[in-house]
């Protein structure tokens, strides 16, 4: 038998939860996911109407940003949650929404699942975690590439083509069982065909996919990235403890709606079997065993951005209030730890 990898989760982090509580929190239902989905559909329709009305005026800029954020952040969150299979109790509903949301997100779903398994088994382990999108430590340039999502588009285009041709990279082969590779190949082919159809449709003069899908996807990406960059930035690599590698930050209704409660990211990595709607309950159940969540979305983003800018300027990288790994704090200068593996 293959020796068991030491997975980064609650056990490797020294966090304990009574079996009955875990079972209660892990309970599956379709209702919370459907309520969330109904909110998303209503906001998408409302945002789409506002965008439609604003075309031809300067209002199109804020309308596009708002609609883009409402399209893209939940798309990421839904694609992530359904890749875990935890958004809904009904499996086909999970899978259908995984394929739809991953299409907008721009990642083939089978690959998304397998790459993400490596992210959970080896969270922020250099050379083993298949989802390390920025170099460590993060510089201002890295932050910009990550914020715009440009590195991701380039990585995914290469991945789509290689996987469709069956020329899998060493990283893909590392986290995908051999028997599953044909699924990645055919998934990439199906998605490439669908993207080609979409482009042909736009080229034929149909503007609506451009206006309501492609442009908002690009414009909304930085908002999405402001949520996701915070997950592991400025924390430790190569540690078995999720408490040292991962960040939670305070959030409310907006974090539920846009991000499916993934601001509780420490809790998600400790117990990935707990669905998004139970993460606040999980946070309460283990709050005495995990670090205090960082300040809210804006404050945490501001501090991360300021730290990476100061790092690039050769200044002190000590942040006022967010959690940082000790080795991320310097008084000027830094030693590169690793390159991004999603470029």
């Amino acid at each position: 038998m293959t020796p068991a990898p030491i997975a980064t989760n609650a056990a490797s982090s020294g966090v304990k939860l009574e079996r009955k509580t875990l079972r209660q929190l892990g309970k599956r239902s379709d209702v919370p996911g459907l309520i969330w989905l109904a909110h998303w559909v209503v906001f998408l329709l409302g945002g789409g109407v506002l965008l439609h009305l604003s075309v031809g005026t300067w209002w199109v800029v804020p309308a596009m940003i708002a609609y883009g954020a409402v399209l893209v952040v939940p798309t990421y969150a839904l694609s992530h949650e359904t890749s875990h299979g935890t958004a809904f109790r009904t499996r086909w509903l999970n899978d259908a929404l995984l394929w739809i949301s991953s299409f907008i997100y721009f990642e083939e779903p089978n690959h998304r699942r397998y790459a993400h398994t490596s992210h959970h088994t080896y969270t922020m382990h250099v050379g083993k975690d298949g989802q390390m999108p920025f170099a460590l430590p993060m510089t201002f340039r890295e932050w910009l590439v990550e914020l715009t999502h440009l590195g991701f588009y380039w990585y995914e285009i290469k991945l789509f083509v290689k996987n469709a041709l069956g020329r899998f990279s060493p990283l893909v082969l590392q986290y995908t069982p051999e028997d599953e590779l044909p699924k990645l190949k055919w998934g990439a082919r199906v998605y490439l065909a669908a993207y080609a159809t979409l482009l042909a449709f736009i080229a034929a003069g149909h503007v609506w996919p451009l206006l309501y899908l492609v442009l908002p996807r690009l414009v909304g990406a930085p908002v999405m990235q402001m949520f996701t960059i915070l997950q592991h930035a400025e924390l430790s690599e190569d540690t078995p403890s999720i408490l040292d590698s991962t960040r939670s930050y305070k959030g409310g209704w907006l974090s539920w709606f846009l991000y499916m409660n993934m601001n509780n990211h420490v809790e998600h990595h400790l117990y990935p079997q707990v669905p998004f709607y139970a993460l606040p309950g999980l946070q309460k159940a283990i709050e005495d065993q995990v670090p205090e969540p960082d300040p809210g979305f804006w404050r945490t983003n501001y501090e991360v951005a300021a730290v990476v800018a100061r790092r690039s300027l050769g200044l002190s990288t000590r942040a006022p209030s967010i959690r940082q790994a000790p080795h991320m704090i310097t008084e000027g200068g830094f030693t590169k730890i690793s390159e991004a593996n999603m470029r």
């Binding site: 038998m1 293959t2 020796p3 068991a4 990898p5 997975a7 989760n9 609650a10 079996r19 009955k20 875990l22 079972r23 892990g26 309970k27 599956r28 875990h84 299979g85 935890t86 109790r89 499996r91 089978n110 699942r113 397998y114 993400h116 398994t117 959970h120 088994t121 069982p177 028997d179 599953e180 699924k183 117990y271 990935p272 079997q273």
Partner: protein
């Protein structure tokens, strides 16, 4: 050849739940489902994560690490990332106890 081993009292496993059972250097998962008691290997076939913290959903066990799913009765791998079936073992109930045929 059958080798029936007494594993636990039936009431040690809650309804729609599982427990870990270790015996003779092997580790198993014992389930109490709406269709009765079942036993499988304890480790997920994907990355050897123990199933003991997994979630039982009807007749399905979901691995706690990556949420791959197996049919509890047959051990069949149902959804990615698992793709290799789980080994199952015959189970019988006698005098309120769960017995497993470890072969």
């Amino acid at each position: 050849m059958s080798t029936w081993i007494k594993a636990c009292a039936a009431d040690e496993i809650d309804d729609e739940d599982l427990i870990r059972w270790d015996y003779d250097g092997q580790t198993f998962a014992l389930f109490n489902t709406p269709r009765g008691f079942f036993a499988t290997d304890g480790l997920c076939t994907h990355e050897d994560q123990h199933l003991e913290d997994g979630i039982v959903i009807g007749q399905v066990i979901e691995c706690p690490l990556h949420q791959g799913r197996f049919d509890i009765a047959s051990g069949k791998a149902l959804s990615a990332p698992v793709c290799v079936d789980l080994k199952t073992y015959p189970v019988k109930l006698e005098a309120g106890c769960v017995f497993v045929d470890i072969g």
